[in-house]
């Protein structure tokens, strides 16, 4: 992306509630760029699928507006939005052949049958199912059905494609293969894809950007690396990968860093929040960034801990530590030649750099997630 891409889809203050009291989607703002692969990631019930249905036009927003290519679509019925949709269970029509399924959107658009046949052939070629025109969906494997569903969502050449957990029904190996395939097709056609999943690995592997949903809100929207390395919210830190989440109080501030008091330990952290002394913050430290028995003085943050438990996992050692009375502090120690043997009950020294330790705002609504 050398020049900034245009906005393809825009949500402005969109709200949705089915019963009038529970807000499924709350005051949502979201911009999807032209040609972008954006994933809506979140636990079930977080409102991500509802967002997709609102965009598709199957649901009407209770408030706010949705724009597609700069045009408000609030009054546009689904069939006029020209959006390709891949449904969770594919929704292939069992009474038609694969060719019939693919030709359906072309026929209802009044396309001549020979041109339709050519487009169907090309779409099948795109998903590598050449010659499958006369098969019935029931005769296909799950992965093949998936490919047909994708081909059908693309055959009428929409610029925007929505996918609702399309890989949920596949086994792991096939899922990885399809992740790659979907990404390849998206790049080849340069279509905008809005993809819904609850699987963070999938989101990480495929997306240009990921929007993390929680309770009808977007917690953070960022490229996968940034989401992992620079979480800005406690929920994101806990949801993406693994993090030690420690609740503490800011005792001093120095530039971008702050000192947080955690059970009497003074921890240096990167201040995402924690801009005032006395503020409650959540410290997020990745287990793989914790070093065991560092050289003295190597890290600003160095503390004594006791090994509560350890599990050998081949490429790494998973150590549960007691840090200042907090017994669930986890460190992942890579299995590389020369690291000292640790035993259960050992007293060890651990350390990490302040930039690997982020002080996030303590969201009381998410208190359950806090350590």
């Amino acid at each position: 992306m050398s020049e900034p891409a245009a906005t393809h889809v825009r949500f402005q203050g969109v709200c949705k509630s089915y019963d009038g009291t529970t807000q499924i989607v709350q005051n949502l703002d979201l911009a999807v760029l032209e040609g972008e692969f954006l994933t809506l990631l979140g636990p079930s019930g977080s409102g991500k699928t509802t967002c997709l249905m609102l965009l598709a036009g199957f649901e009407q927003p209770g408030g706010g507006h949705i724009e597609i290519s700069g045009r408000a679509v609030d009054d546009l019925p689904p069939r006029e939005r020209n959006i390709g949709i891949v449904f969770q269970n594919y929704a292939l029509f069992p009474n038609m052949t694969v060719g019939g399924n693919l030709a359906f959107p072309l026929e209802v658009r009044g396309l001549a049958s020979d041109e339709a046949a050519e487009r169907v052939r090309r779409a099948l070629q795109l998903v590598r199912l050449e010659g499958f025109e006369d098969r019935r969906p029931a005769e296909l494997s799950g992965g093949q059905q998936q490919r047909v569903a994708i081909a059908r969502a693309l055959v009428f050449e929409p610029r925007l494609v929505l996918m609702d957990e399309p890989l949920g029904a596949l086994d792991r190996r096939l899922r990885e293969e399809m992740q790659y395939e979907i990404r390849r097709i998206q790049r080849e056609l340069a279509v905008t894809v809005v993809y819904v999943t609850h699987d963070q690995t999938e989101a990480m592997a495929m997306s240009d950007r990921v929007a993390v949903f929680n309770r009808g809100r977007i917690e953070q929207i960022a490229p996968p690396e940034a989401l992992y390395e620079e979480p800005e919210r406690e929920f994101v830190a806990g949801f993406i990968g693994e993090n030690n989440l420690l609740r503490g109080r800011v005792s001093a501030i120095t530039g971008d860093l702050c000192t947080v008091d955690f059970r009497g330990l003074a921890v240096q952290a990167f201040a995402v929040a924690g801009r005032s002394v006395g503020e409650e913050v959540i410290l997020a430290i990745r287990p793989e960034r914790v070093a065991l028995t560092p050289k003295p003085g190597e890290y600003t943050n160095e503390f004594d801990a006791k090994v509560e438990d350890l599990v050998f996992l081949g490429d790494h050692l998973r150590v549960r530590l007691n840090l200042g009375g907090y017994e669930s502090f986890v460190a992942k120690i890579p299995n590389i030649v020369g690291h000292g043997a640790v035993l259960k009950g050992d007293s060890v020294r651990i350390g990490w750099t302040p930039t690997d330790c982020r002080a996030l705002p303590a969201d009381d609504a998410d208190a359950g997630m806090a350590a």
Binding site: I85, M96, V108
Partner: protein, 414 residues
Amino acid sequence: MTERVASDGASPPRRARAARWRAAGLTLPLLAFVGITFIAPLGAMLTRSVYDPTVADALPRTMALLAEWDGEGLPEDGAFAAAAQELVSARAARSVGQLASRVNRIEGGTRSVITRSARRLATRDAPARDTAGWRAALIEADPAWAEPFIWRAIRRAGERVTPQHYLQALDLDRDVGGAVVARPEEQRIYLKLFARTLAVSLGVTLLCLALGYPLAYLIAQAPAHRARWLLLLVLVPFWTSLLVRTTSWIVLLQSQGVLNEALVQLGVIADNKRLAMIYNMTGSFVAMTHVLLPFMVLPLYSVMRGVPPSHMRAATSLGATFPQAFRRVYWPQTLPGVGAGSLLVFILAVGYYITPALVGGRTGQLISNFIAYHMQQSLNWGLAAALGGILLVGVGALYFVYDRLVGIERMRLG
């Protein structure tokens, strides 16, 4: 553990077989029930439609002698003697009435000839007669015995296995030579009745489909709590007596009924031109459709519930209008339900009895009403059985055709 099993005596496969037999034994009451209440009566009915030993049992010697008769002129004297003697014994055994009715069905007017002759022969204290004497006595008892037609009637009635009932049920008969011919115009009733029954059943089926499909669709689309209530409303008629439901239509549709009164009051029709909506074909039609509607709605609903809502959504997202999506995606997927409901309603309608009997009047009677008539009034069970047999074959054929066209395994009843 495995050792214990092996040392238990019986080998595992044998024990498994014994267990299977025990399990199969549990279905014995069911098999007995089906056998006694379903297969046996059906078999008896089909047997009765072609097998009638009444005359053959009562007049064995006569039948043996008539077998050699060429059917032209009169039989030999021995047949007269045998017939006269066997009529006397039949009268003593009180079977002469049945015998006479049976012969009378072949040839009208022979009932009185036979019963009268039997009475006269038995009451007249006859001296020992020779063969010629018996012949004279029989003709004296009734001059009809001197005509060949009565002998032909007896001979035909004496066939143990006879196509007679089926021929009659199809408005056919056999002429003197035994060739199958159509009955005279004024005697043909059953073919017309079959045609009427099929037409009414087809009409009722289509009407049920036209009314039931939107209803089933509505229920299938409704949210769960409302679908429960709607389904309950469909089922309520099942818990009401059929008689009550049928007679309520009388209340509504009769000439002094609610509908006619309302129309007269509103000035839509004149008082002396009230609509005849009951005790005729219209009555049968309306009441049967009402009674059979649930049998259409339930299979349809069950199939519609199985069509994922995402299919219609997918179709609209692909650019289809609702009619396009419905015709191309939804309707084809509900065909198994349409087939099941239609087959069910049609089969039930073809054999429907009580509703046409109550509200059909003269013109709304169907084949079942005539089966009942022959069972209860005319006591011609053979003909009733033949009519029933033809109905059974017709329904079987329909089932076969359905299986060929749609596949019976695709049918879902609920």
